[in-house]
Amino acid sequence: MSAATDAVPATAPGNRIAQSLRDSLVIARRNLIRMTRIPEMVLFGVIQPVMFVVLFTYVFGGSIKVGSTTDSGVYKDFLMAGIFAQTVTFATAGSAAGIADDMQKGLVDRFRSLPMARGAVLTGRTVADLVQTAITLLVLAIVALIVGWRTGSADPTNAARILTGFALLLLLGYAFTWIGALIGLSVRTPEAATSGGIIWLFPVTFISNAFVDPTQMTPWLRHVAEWNPFSATVQACRELFGNPGVVQSDAWPMQHPVWASLLWSVLIIAVFRTLAVRKYRSAAT
C-alpha cells in the first residue's frame, strides 16, 4: 500500500519550523472552534475580572494609600494595571484545564500517534488561550474606562506607550499559559488542573505591587514583591500608561520595569516551554 507514503512526504530538516508552525495553527484553530462552541467559558473568563474591577474600585478605593493619598480616583488609576496583569495570568487555569481534559479524553494519545510536530499541541493551545486573553483584556479595558480609569492621569503618555503596555501584558499572559500547560500535563483530572492552575496565582499576584504600594509592606515582603516577575509588568504598565503609584525603589526590576517584564516573560516561556514539551513527549496518561 503506497497511500501512506504518497500522502505524507518525508519532512526535510528545513521544513521542520514550517511544519511546526502549521501544526500549531491547526491545533490553535481547533481550540478556537471549541471556544465558539462553549461561549459560556469565554463569558465567565470576562465576568470574573470585571467583577474584580468593580469590587476593588468601590470597596477598597478610598481606604488604600497610593503615594501619600487615599483618594479613590487615584486608587482607580493605580489599580487598573494590577487588575489587567492579574487577569492575563489567570489564563493559566484555562490552559491547564484544557490540556488535562485532552489527556483524560485520550486526545493527547491520538495526537502523539500522529506524525506531527512535537510541541504543536501545546503551542496551539497556548496561542488559542492568548486570543481569549486578548478578548478579555479588551473588554476589561473598556469597563475600566467606563468606571473612570484614564491613561496619562499622573504622567504624560502616548498611544505607542499604551500599546506597548498591552503588548507586555499579553506576553506575560502567554508566558503564564506555558506554566499552565505544564500543570495540565502533570495532574490527573481537569478539575485538579483548574484549581492547580489558579491557587498559586493568589500569592503571586497579591504579594506584589498590583493592589497596594509595596513601600508600605514589611521589608522582606517588600523585597519579594519588588522582585516578583509579576510586579515588573505591573510597574511597566503604570509607567507606560502614565498612571500613579510607580514604585520608587533600588530594586533593578522596579527601575527598569519594561526590560524586566520582557526578560521575565521570555525566561518563563523558555523554561516552561522546554519542561512542558519534554513532559508531553513522555506523557503517559
Binding site: 497511500a3 501512506a4 500522502a7 462553549i38 479524553k105 491520538r110 506524525p115 504543536a120
Partner: protein, 335 residues
C-alpha cells in the same frame, strides 16, 4: 523476513509491576492478530509501545519495516490507531475532527477535507457530519474514531478494544467495517477481552496474561486446547445425579464433572444445539427433572483456566501507572 508488526522481548515496568514481561509478536503482512487477555494483562501497554506512545524498557519493535525506537516519527506516518476511548474532540463536528487529523498527518487542507468527506460517507456519518460529536451515539463515535485512524489508509492498524462498551448491533456493524478493511490488505493488531471477537476477526490469536504471551494459534487451535463446547445440567433431585451422569456419558466426548452440592454435571461435547436437544429428550425420557440446562461454548475464562490454571481476574489497579488496568477501570466508572 519479519512481518508488518514485529516485536521481540518487549519489557515495560511501572514501578514493581512488569506490565510487559518479554513479549514477542510477529504479524505477517495483510493478516489480523488478536491480542486476547483480561484487563491489566498488558494488551494496551503492548499497543502503546508499538504505536510510539510508550518507550519500552528493553526489546525490539519493528512496524511496517521501520524501527519503532529509532524512527518513531516515520512509524507514525504508516500507522493508524483507534483506542478504547473514542478519541475525538467532542466539541468539533465529525467533519472538523477528520479534517484536523488529516492536516496533522501533513495532508494539504483541501486534500484532508476531501478525504474527510469520503470517510464520513463510507462510515455512514454524512448526515451527522456537521454536528458536534458530543451529540453522537457511542457507536457513531467509535466509527468516527476508526475513520480518524484511517485518514491516510495506513498499511498497519492498531485497534485497542474497538468494541468495548458497544451494544451488540453496533458491535456487529463495527466488525463488518473491520472485515472490509482487512480485505483491503491492511495489517491489523487488535486487542480484545472477547474470544468471540477474536474468533470473528483474527487469523491468529495471542493470549496474554501478566505481560506474557502464554499461548498463540488460530481460534480453533485454542478452542481445542480449551476443550470446546460443554453441556451443563443442573438436576432437581440429588438422587437423579447418577442416572443423569449415565445419560451424559452417552453423549460426551470426555469425562463428566459432577458437583454434588450444586447438583451440576458438566460434560464436553461436539454437535451444538442439535445434540443439546437430544440430551434434553433423553433426560426427559428417563424421568429426570432438570432445573437448568445449557450448551456452553468456551469463553475467555475457559481459555484462561485451561491455559493458566487460574481465572482471568482483573489485576489490581497499577499504582496510577499508565497501564491498561487503571485506564479501563477508570473508563468503566466514567460510563
Amino acid at each position: 523476513m519479519p512481518g508488518a508488526i514485529y516485536a521481540e522481548g518487549l519489557v515495560k515496568t511501572f514501578g514493581d509491576v512488569r506490565a510487559l514481561d518479554g513479549v514477542d509478536l510477529d504479524v505477517p503482512e495483510g493478516t489480523v492478530l488478536g491480542l486476547l487477555g483480561p484487563n491489566g494483562a498488558g494488551k494496551t501497554t503492548a499497543v502503546r509501545c508499538l504505536t510510539t506512545l510508550l518507550r519500552p524498557d528493553s526489546g525490539k519493535a519493528v512496524v511496517a519495516g521501520i524501527d519503532v525506537l529509532r524512527q518513531p516519527n516515520e512509524v507514525r506516518r504508516s500507522i493508524g490507531l483507534s483506542g478504547q476511548f473514542a478519541a475525538v474532540d467532542e466539541y468539533l463536528t465529525g467533519r472538523e475532527n477528520l479534517h484536523m487529523v488529516g492536516q496533522l498527518y501533513q495532508m494539504k487542507s483541501k486534500v484532508a477535507k476531501a478525504r474527510a468527506a469520503e470517510l464520513l460517507d463510507q462510515f455512514h456519518l454524512s448526515d451527522a457530519a456537521d454536528r458536534p460529536t458530543k451529540t453522537y451515539s457511542g457507536g457513531m463515535r467509535r466509527r468516527l474514531d476508526l475513520a480518524a485512524a484511517l485518514v491516510v489508509s495506513p498499511p498497519v492498524m492498531f485497534m485497542d478494544e474497538p468494541t468495548t462498551g458497544l451494544d451488540p448491533r453496533n458491535r456487529q456493524e463495527l466488525w463488518e467495517v473491520i472485515k472490509q478493511l482487512v480485505a483491503g490488505g491492511t495489517t491489523l493488531l487488535l486487542t480484545t477481552q472477547y474470544l468471540e471477537e477474536a474468533d470473528h476477526l483474527a487469523h491468529d490469536i495471542a493470549v496474554v496474561d501478566h505481560g506474557r504471551v502464554i499461548a498463540r494459534g488460530t481460534s480453533d487451535q485454542l478452542k481445542a486446547r480449551t476443550g470446546g463446547e460443554r453441556v451443563e445440567v443442573v438436576v432437581h433431585e440429588r438422587h437423579h445425579m447418577g442416572t443423569a451422569s449415565e445419560v451424559l456419558a452417552g453423549f460426551g466426548k470426555g469425562a463428566t464433572t459432577v458437583e454434588q452440592h450444586t447438583r451440576k454435571l458438566t460434560v464436553p461435547v461436539t454437535g451444538g444445539a442439535k445434540l443439546l436437544a437430544e440430551v434434553i429428550r433423553e433426560l426427559d425420557a428417563r424421568g429426570i427433572e432438570i432445573d437448568d440446562i445449557g450448551l456452553r461454548r468456551p469463553t475467555l475464562d475457559d481459555v484462561f483456566i485451561s491455559l493458566t490454571g487460574h481465572a482471568a481476574e482483573v489485576r489490581d489497579e497499577e499504582n496510577g501507572s499508565a497501564d491498561d488496568a487503571g485506564r479501563e477501570q477508570e473508563k468503566e466508572t466514567a460510563k
